[in-house]
Symmetry: C2
Subunit: 241 residues, 2 copies
DNA sequence: TAAATAAAATGATTTTAGTCAGGAATAAAT
DNA sequence: ATTTATTCCTGACTAAAATCATTTTATTTA
């Protein structure tokens, strides 16, 4: 693996001046609050494939993804991986665990070279307890996530594999957007798409091959381009167990 | 259906003096805040099987379940029912929808004769925006729910039907407790257990019959008693797709 | 109480998805 | 550049769960 991109991750600016902050939940905090967080954080870089934190470990602070992409995974009793969340800048990775105070209930893994700010828990909680607007913004974020989970749950449990893969591709394109040449801007293994759609890699491969044959998508190595979004939408809603 | 129990639901006391309040998220509010909520609420009774509110409708306030039990459901595209939540006193039914401001994303149905306080949205939000401790308590509640959803998701997607039913029975007993004669204190149709475990009623029936034959549970009409909790636990973790 | 309706139970069958094995293509490492 | 290790792909087979049909048993309703 080339280390260039990893090494070249830019030095993170102060939270106060960080331009990405305005895109995150931290927007709306006062300069004083941001300064408090800034003084009590560290920045860590992770290579593609590296584990950011592990299930059952004690949280060490709020993980804020500045650069890169990450997946949040859990393992079934048989050891099979399930993706319970995907993250991009500037998402908080472990906010719900931080709020409950438990140990991590999932594992976070970098999908590409990534940079993470780790904000000290105590100081974060101080800001949270002192700013009701911030608390409410977080509350809204949680509520939205909860509703999305409910929808996802129905999708996964009620739709057949073709619909589930179609759904995953649409959601991925909406969440990560596109590269300049039109591919979905994330590189996932077939196994990751399986972990995302609750199915086996073999079936993901078969389904994606079928979509390719029907000219609904085009694949170039691990990159996927959607050629016929309407048809993909139809597939995602039509078939059901 | 007998109306006696329905009619006999007690008149709800003021929020300020309501003894149930101390068991709910409303605990910790000041008398003044409670008074504000109390003055802006109505109490509605629902019969067993009645719809409390419906998906896609506009929320009319915070639904607080005082008496009875309720299920929150969504429908698949084919019309199949999926239970995304179960409620008991004193739970909020629609809190996440209220926070996001969307229309209802699910339907609430009374599982038995129930009484619901509907607290005015504007006044609830006023209290929420004015009390950072309350906001944080809600936040913790959301975070816990989120983590529970993640666990449930893994259980449902990774385990086989026998394990899923075993899991559902254990969770039901933990959530609703027991009657004096040892049965799980909730009366669900086999179809409800199916909607809870993402499977078909026929398979729930088969599985429950099998558990009965093995003396793991005992059924009396719709009531279920757990005879061998250890074995049920084992079943809930051992088998997996 | 009787009739009607709904729910539970069971068996046969079909559909769906998982498993396993072997080879081709990619990507990573030496 | 070559080896090594992954990942991708395909087909044959197996297992799991859904579907459908029918009977029995409960529950409502009149």
């Amino acid at each position: 693996m080339k280390d260039a991109a990893y090494v070249n991750l830019k030095i993170q600016p102060s939270c106060v001046t960080c331009t990405k902050r305005t895109l995150s939940l931290l927007e709306g905090l006062t300069d004083h609050e941001l300064e408090l967080l800034n003084e009590n954080r560290i920045v860590i870089n992770f290579k593609k494939g590296e584990t950011i934190y592990k299930e059952n470990c004690k949280p060490s602070g709020l993980y804020c993804l500045n650069e890169g992409k990450a997946k949040l995974i859990k393992h079934s009793l048989k050891g099979r991986e399930i993706i319970i969340g995907l993250k991009k800048p500037v998402d908080f990775l472990d906010i719900e665990t931080l709020v409950t105070g438990e140990n991590y209930t999932h594992t976070a893994v970098a999908l590409e070279n990534s940079s993470v700010c780790i904000i000290d828990e105590t100081h974060f909680n101080k800001v949270l307890m002192g700013n009701v607007t911030f608390a409410n913004k977080l509350l809204q974020n949680f509520a939205t996530t909860l509703i999305e989970y409910q929808n996802h749950f129905v999708n996964i449990t009620q739709k057949q594999i073709h619909a589930r893969v179609a759904d995953a591709l649409i959601k991925l394109s909406e969440f990560y957007g596109y590269t300049t040449d039109g591919y979905i801007d994330v590189s996932l293994k077939r196994q990751d798409i399986a972990a995302l759609s609750s199915m086996t890699p073999a079936n993901v491969i078969r389904t994606i091959s079928a979509f390719e044959k029907e000219k609904i998508i085009e694949c170039n190595k691990k990159r996927i381009k959607i050629l016929n979004r309407e048809q993909l939408q139809e597939i995602s809603i039509e078939k059901e167990k």
